[in-house]
């Protein structure tokens, strides 16, 4: 493609949203022999875009695409909890909260802070035949204990270690203290 073609594509994309025809005044007239070709290309592109709005994403850079996808589907925007499933509840997802280390209740005396990530949400969607049978058995009181193991929303990977200095100038390291990925296990 020639340089002018590239510029034209960009212009088209900028104006697609408004869907107004491109004002001819914006176009430099230094390339009269190429002008018709360019107009043809623009018209063809607009037609294609109108025909299939999904294809628009194929032209956008990857980051832009992700942002749009996230805006359209907020449930999936965070973590890899339950990929692409639309369950009855909000799935098992990773949530972050900003805390002081003292909030953790571990007895450390320090002014340091951290981002704590935890897993929450229901695991209904992860049910298997096994879970169904267990549920039925406990409902029919065929199992002595009704505390049968259900799938739980738990971390399947942990954040990196966190080290901090306490008020007595002693270093401590927290390991496996915060979730990195969640899963129904």
């Amino acid at each position: 493609m020639k340089l002018w073609d590239v510029v034209a594509v960009c212009l088209v994309l900028l104006h697609t949203a408004s869907a107004f025809p491109l004002p001819a005044a914006n176009m430099p007239e230094d390339y009269p022999d190429q002008f018709d070709d360019v107009m043809d290309f623009i018209q063809a592109t607009i037609k294609r875009l109108k025909r299939s709005p999904d294809k628009q994403m194929a032209v956008l850079p990857r980051r832009e695409r992700n942002r749009q996808a996230a805006a359209a589907n907020p449930e999936n925007s965070r973590g890899k909890g339950r990929r692409g499933q639309r369950g009855k509840n909000r799935g098992c997802v990773l949530t972050a909260i900003h805390l002081n280390v003292t909030d953790l209740g571990l007895g450390y005396e320090t002014k340091e802070e951290l981002i704590f990530r935890y897993c929450s949400g229901s695991c209904d969607a992860a049910e298997t035949m096994y879970d169904k049978i267990l549920k039925n058995l406990s409902r029919n009181r065929r199992l002595a204990s009704d505390k049968v193991g259900q799938a739980c929303c738990r971390p399947i990977a942990f954040d990196d270690d966190l080290s901090f200095l306490d008020d007595n100038l002693v270093y401590h390291i927290l390991r496996k203290h915060s979730a990195k990925r969640c899963g129904c296990i």
Binding site: G105, L106, G107, Y108, E109, V170, H172, R175, K176
Partner: protein, 613 residues
């Protein structure tokens, strides 16, 4: 032998655009190491910039070979300024320097180092020389950057500074400036009333005074107006090796006895040597300040070595403190000595300050009189211990130790037990490498419960394999108490129990009474005194995984665990829990311990809820 040296390593002056050729800039000064030396000054070929890139060939500044006067040979115009500034990276302040050498054949230019080379810095301003009336007294008297000088001790006196600012005098001849050194009368410095030069009056001695904090005073007279400016004028005296090493208090002999401490690295005796010098400097010291163990007894040559540890110190001289050096020479065991060794020997160490030029000698002889005495292994006449019938495997019964074992180091004693009857054997013994003691423990709980094995006799044998020496003592063991069957569902290790009630109901590996013991902590944050359940609170947890606890991880995981600790804690040096939050309990098989605060509200609520229901 050293030659001439500069009295400073850096000089500073201002340069302005379009100063005419012939403008004098400043004097550099060299002092003599020996009478009769004559300096010959030479400039380096290049001008250097901020981070020492070569800016340009020096076409502008020249030096008078004999006087050290730097002057402009050619006017520095605006174009030159711009050219230099651009090459310097366009920094707003243009500071350039050039190098002055003392030898007629300059060294490589990259190696400009005091004493043979000095740097002359010029702050180069993009304006012409300011009007004389606009100059402040401080600018008329002294350069911007402070003055400081270095003078070697014991060297011929000489002139080392020239007060007046030559460009100021050149452009503003009508301003009269006079200089004076305050407090200089009694000191070896002279600045004659009408003179502008400072010189030393006699050779300096660092061992008398190391630093002179003089004050330079300048009086500016413009018409009838007079003003005074004062700046610090420090002079540092450089040391040379003019003092021989001596013995403080004349002590050149040390006596020592080697008995219980026989380990490699033990310091047997120390002798101190004093040297009033601070040269050679620390980097050179070990090479120049040598010590040799004089040959004699070949055995002693192998067994002993000398360690030299020099240290700077301050001594009082003339009301001020000057630095000096003390050298400690330690006689150290080069290897562990067998307990049977019995000798008396004299060692002589020759210390040589090889830099010392005299008069006299820089050599000293240190004398060490050492007696190596043998250690006789002896156990107390009789041991008698009792053991509870309910004691569990690895329960600690007592300790055996040869006489003076607490003081031993480098002595390896192994303990053994010989039962007098072969069918009743309950005890085992482990030897601790740290304190040379033996710990007795229950090794067979089934035999312990057999009624015919209620009173047992053993022989304790302490054995030093290296010297083939041994000692023996009889040991009487009585079995006491009654056996109570274990409650069901109790864990193997006491440390598993998290509550006081379940701890005290159960027994575990290592408990001498058959019951675990609860240690109640102080409950203050993360503490070494955390609450926990252990077989014997006297030995566990104590922050130390001893030889017996090391036998089985279930005995005291609080001290011995290598694994993860969940909850607020401080890990031990290599293993175990140093400090924990609240209650710490452990699952040794899982290699895990948990520390969390005692939630006293939990059971309370349970009871409350039950009452309500």
């Amino acid at each position: 032998p050293l030659g001439l040296y500069f009295s400073r390593d850096a000089y500073w002056e201002r340069l302005y655009v379009d100063q005419p050729a012939g403008t004098p800039l400043l004097y550099v000064h060299a002092l003599r190491d020996a009478p009769g030396e004559v300096p010959s000054f030479h400039l380096g070929q290049h001008l250097y910039g901020f981070h020492r890139p070569r800016l340009h060939e020096n076409n502008w500044i020249r030096v008078q070979e004999d006087t050290g006067l730097l002057y402009l040979n050619q006017s520095l115009d605006h174009t030159s300024w711009e050219k230099l500034s651009i090459r310097n990276g366009g920094f707003p302040l243009l500071t350039i320097f050039l190098q002055v050498f003392l030898s007629s054949t300059p060294l490589r230019e990259s190696e400009c180092q005091w004493p043979g080379c000095a740097r002359v810095y010029f702050s180069f301003y993009n304006t012409s020389f300011p009007a004389c009336s606009s100059l402040k007294p401080r600018e008329l008297c002294f350069p911007e950057t402070g003055l400081s000088f270095r003078i070697r001790e014991n060297r011929p006196p000489g002139t080392f500074h020239q007060f007046r600012l030559l460009p100021v005098q050149f452009f503003c001849p009508n301003i009269s400036v006079a200089y004076r050194l305050l407090e200089g009368e009694s000191l070896p410095f002279r600045c004659a009333p009408d003179s502008l030069e400072v010189s030393t009056r006699w050779a300096l001695d660092r061992e008398q005074q190391e630093k002179y904090d003089l004050v330079a005073q300048c009086t500016v007279r413009i018409g009838k107006h007079e003003e005074e400016v004062m700046v610090p004028f420090p002079v540092t005296v450089y040391d040379e090796d003019d003092s021989a090493p001596t013995f403080p208090g004349g002590v050149d002999t040390a006596s020592a006895v080697v008995k219980f401490k026989r380990k490699e690295g033990t310091v047997v005796a120390t002798l101190r040597v004093f040297d009033a010098d601070v040269v050679p400097a620390s980097g050179e010291l070990v090479r120049r300040y040598t010590n040799t163990l004089l040959p004699g007894d070949p055995w002693a040559q192998q067994i002993f070595r000398v360690e030299h540890s020099p240290n700077e110190t301050l001594v009082q001289a003339n009301g001020s403190f000057v630095r000096a050096t003390v050298h400690d020479y330690k006689l150290v065991l080069n290897r562990s000595i067998s307990i049977s060794e019995n000798r008396s020997l004299q060692l002589t160490v020759l210390v040589n300050d090889s830099d010392f030029q005299g008069p006299g000698t820089g050599v000293l002889l240190l004398h060490f009189n050492v007696s190596v005495l043998p250690v006789i292994l002896r156990l107390p006449s009789t041991y008698s211990f009792s053991v509870n019938k309910g004691a569990r495997h690895y329960a600690q019964i007592g300790k055996v130790c040869v006489e003076n074992c607490q003081e031993f180091s480098g002595i390896h004693v192994q303990y053994k037990l010989q039962p007098s009857s072969a069918n009743c054997s309950i005890l085992g013994v482990v030897t601790s490498a740290e304190d040379t003691s033996g710990t007795l423990f229950v090794n067979d709980t089934e035999t312990l419960q057999r009624p015919e094995c209620a009173e047992l006799q053993y022989t304790v044998v302490a054995n030093d394999r290296q010297a083939r020496k041994q000692a023996q003592a009889p040991l009487l063991l009585t079995v006491e108490g009654t056996y109570v069957a274990e409650k069901e569902g109790c864990p193997l290790s006491c440390a598993v129990n998290k509550r006081r009630s379940e701890c005290e109901e159960c027994g575990g590996l290592g408990s001498p009474t058959g019951r675990c013991e609860w240690r109640q902590g102080d409950g203050k944050g993360i503490t070494r005194n955390f609450s926990t359940c252990s077989p014997n609170t006297k030995t566990c947890p104590d922050g130390h995984c001893d030889a017996l606890e090391n036998r089985n991880i279930n005995i005291c995981p609080q001290d011995c665990l290598r694994g993860s600790i969940v909850g607020g804690h401080e890990p031990g040096e290599r293993r175990g829990i140093k400090a924990g939050y609240g209650i710490c309990n452990c699952f040794p098989e899982k290699k895990k311990c948990f520390c969390e605060p005692e939630d006293s509200l939990g059971p309370l609520c349970d009871e409350l809820c039950r009452t309500v229901i």
